[in-house]
């Protein structure tokens, strides 16, 4: 008993240290963001007169309203479509077990470890040929494709575990495959779909490489891509840069805090299955 209590204490201390180390960069950024503009802040010092107005300045300077709109448009273009077609494919592969499904699945697995860098150059020329370069479509379309390996893998894993008898019972009732999908299978798949949606929202919001390669105008990029441009422009104004970064990462934190249960579960299962 004594031993395990001591073990408990060491464990708690270790965790506490880890928590502090994890939070330090955020705290340090906040302390810099609150210093008066034009000063050179030092590592971590609570400002005597916190300048909360810096956040408003960063919001204006970074044109944050337009950035938010752009990111939301990209998310709206990527996430619903990806989730829908991945759910359909997962249903086809995991539940209907279409002939040749194994080959399709094998091809998708190929993409699971693929670094985006490996396809970004041809994607640039492909988008150029389609006349989509420097539009949001140049980010939206490739992202949908690039998400398919994980998303289909994820949904297929769910649908393989749904007993086939369920589909057969619905068949006896005379419903078509389409009805079966929407009325029986999709409602059952809600938790898996919800997790997938959250993951895809974050991945899209945070997507950087495609944004900087395929779109020149920061106002048409994802949040992360816009932040890259913001750093290039305001890299020397540390106060503003920190305030801007905090503003840009806040939405991800909010989404995470609201959905953290599903999110943590999704990430753990997602990586275990992957």
């Amino acid at each position: 008993m004594n031993l395990s209590r001591r073990e408990n204490l060491t464990g708690r201390i270790f965790l506490l240290v880890l928590v502090v180390v994890t939070l330090l960069p955020f705290v340090s950024m906040l302390s810099a963001a609150l210093q008066p503009r034009g000063t050179v802040p030092s590592g971590l010092a609570w400002p005597s007169d916190p300048q909360w107005g810096n956040f408003a300045d960063a919001f204006t300077v970074a044109n944050m309203g337009a950035l938010l709109r752009s990111s939301l448009l990209i998310v709206a273009g990527v996430v619903p479509v990806s989730v829908l077609i991945a759910t359909m494919a997962g249903f086809g592969l995991g539940q209907l077990r279409v002939p040749g499904g194994r080959i399709v699945f094998g091809l998708l697995l190929l993409g699971l470890t693929l670094p985006f860098e490996a396809v970004v150059t041809p994607l640039y020329y492909q988008m150029q040929d389609l006349g989509l370069l420097n539009t949001r479509w140049a980010i939206i379309l490739p992202l949908i494709g690039l998400y398919m390996p994980f998303a289909v893998f994820w949904m297929r894993a769910h649908f393989s575990n749904v007993p086939v008898e369920l589909s057969e019972a619905a068949r006896v009732d005379g419903s078509s495959t389409w009805q079966l999908f929407w009325r029986v299978q999709v409602p059952l798949a809600k938790p898996a779909i919800a997790s997938l949606t959250i993951l895809m929202f974050l991945w899209t919001w945070n997507q950087f490489l495609l944004a900087i390669v395929l779109v020149d105008d920061p106002a048409k990029r994802t949040m992360a891509g816009a932040l890259g441009a913001f750093q290039g422009q305001w890299g020397t104004d540390l106060v503003l840069l920190c305030a801007g970064s905090l503003l840009i990462l806040t939405p991800t934190l909010i989404v995470f805090l609201i959905f953290q249960r599903q999110f943590i579960k999704a990430l753990i299962q997602g990586s275990l299955k992957g």
Binding site: S4, E7, T10, G11, R12, L15, L18, V19, T22, L23, P25, S28, M29, S42, G43, L44, I85, M88, F91, G92, L96, V98, P99, V104, L107, L108, G111, T113, P115, E117, A118, V119, T121, P122, Y124, Y125, L141, I144, G145, L146, M148, V152, F181, N206, F208, L209, V213, M223, A224, Q231, L241, C242, S245, L249, L253, F263, I264, L267, L272, G274
Partner: protein
């Protein structure tokens, strides 16, 4: 499927029994019907995903491989180059150094988070429930949630000459060591590694803690009865039981190391010199600044193979046995 095939099992199956006869044709038809349904409509379900994947992943992938055999500036006429680009990747000292940098990052992105994660997880395997556990889990996941770009900016500030790290060092009397960590030739790459370790440590820790909570407590009791100390216990019980989780951590983090881009681009842009340039960054530069699309593509193919080369053996080792 013809009727000849349909009736083939008849002779083999059961000896002549009249009641079976009427059911046979329907039995032969049923799978055909199901096949048609699953095959026809089923494929309609799979098709949209396959089309998007083929158009925006498989096609570019094939093109990358094709480009890698050409010299092309992205505008003019491409000229066949055979294996020249690959030869350059494997002989050019700069490119080799760049690939080497990615391998060094594996130590920081993978080994450090997994080793630390194991240590922490084995210390905390009983403290995962309750309010404290929830808070810890939430906080440790934060770096995984924010854009890597933001992580890069935060750490660039932390590691700068006025940053918190140097402030702490000066506070404990180690001011002599203080420097601009990301700008120094000797410390830039490890400093980038530290950023990656920070991002990935939480994920690894939580994965390992979750795995550990699934280990049968009887195994630990048995080990204790055998007189095993905490260290023996760790190697005899914990480590083998966590094989799958460790495999997952290694896979995810090694891919993150080899394909790193965001953090490096933001925190050092590959400098000083080539000290922190990684393949991802070099592909970007070669293709879009120096207009050497062929060479960039060859490097991309090598990167892809390198990822597979590192990840596939881990999958086999950690997964194959269990099933």
């Amino acid at each position: 499927m013809t009727s000849a095939f349909g009736s083939a099992p008849v002779g083999r199956g059961d000896p002549v029994s009249t009641p079976a006869r009427p059911t046979r044709p329907s039995a032969a038809r049923a799978p055909r019907k199901r096949w048609a349904r699953a095959g026809g409509t089923g494929w309609l379900f799979v098709l949209p995903a396959v089309v998007m994947y083929a158009a925006f992943v498989l096609r570019p992938l094939v093109l990358t491989i094709q480009y890698s055999f050409y010299n092309w500036n992205g505008i003019g006429v491409a000229r066949w180059a055979g294996l020249d680009n690959y030869l350059t990747v494997f002989t050019d000292s700069d490119l080799l150094k760049i690939i080497g940098n990615a391998l060094v990052l594996i130590v920081f992105f993978s080994f450090v988070p997994v080793a630390l994660g194991l240590l922490v997880a084995s210390l905390v395997r009983r403290i995962t429930t309750g309010a404290f556990g929830t808070v810890v889990r939430t906080v440790l996941f934060l770096p995984q949630v924010i854009p890597l770009v933001a992580a890069g900016i935060a750490w660039s500030w932390l590691l700068s000459s006025n940053g918190l790290i140097n402030q702490l060092l000066r506070a404990v009397g180690l001011g002599g060591v203080a420097r601009a960590w990301l700008g120094d030739f000797d410390t830039a790459l490890p400093a980038v590694g530290v950023i990656g370790a920070w991002v990935l440590l939480g994920l690894c820790t939580i994965l390992l803690v979750t795995g550990m909570s699934k280990i049968d407590p009887a195994l630990y009791e048995a080990a204790r009865l055998d007189g095993a100390g905490p260290i023996r216990e760790f190697f005899a019980v914990t480590l083998p039981s966590l094989r799958q989780e460790i495999g997952v951590c290694l896979t995810v983090t090694i891919i993150a190391a080899l394909a790193s881009f965001d953090i490096v681009y933001i925190s050092t842009s590959g400098g000083p010199g080539l000290q922190t340039t990684v393949p991802g960054l070099e592909i970007y530069r070669l293709a879009f600044s120096q207009r050497q699309v062929g060479l960039a593509s060859a490097l991309a193919v090598v990167l892809m193979l390198l990822v597979l080369l590192c990840v596939l053996p881990i999958q086999r080792l950690t997964r194959g046995d269990k099933s």
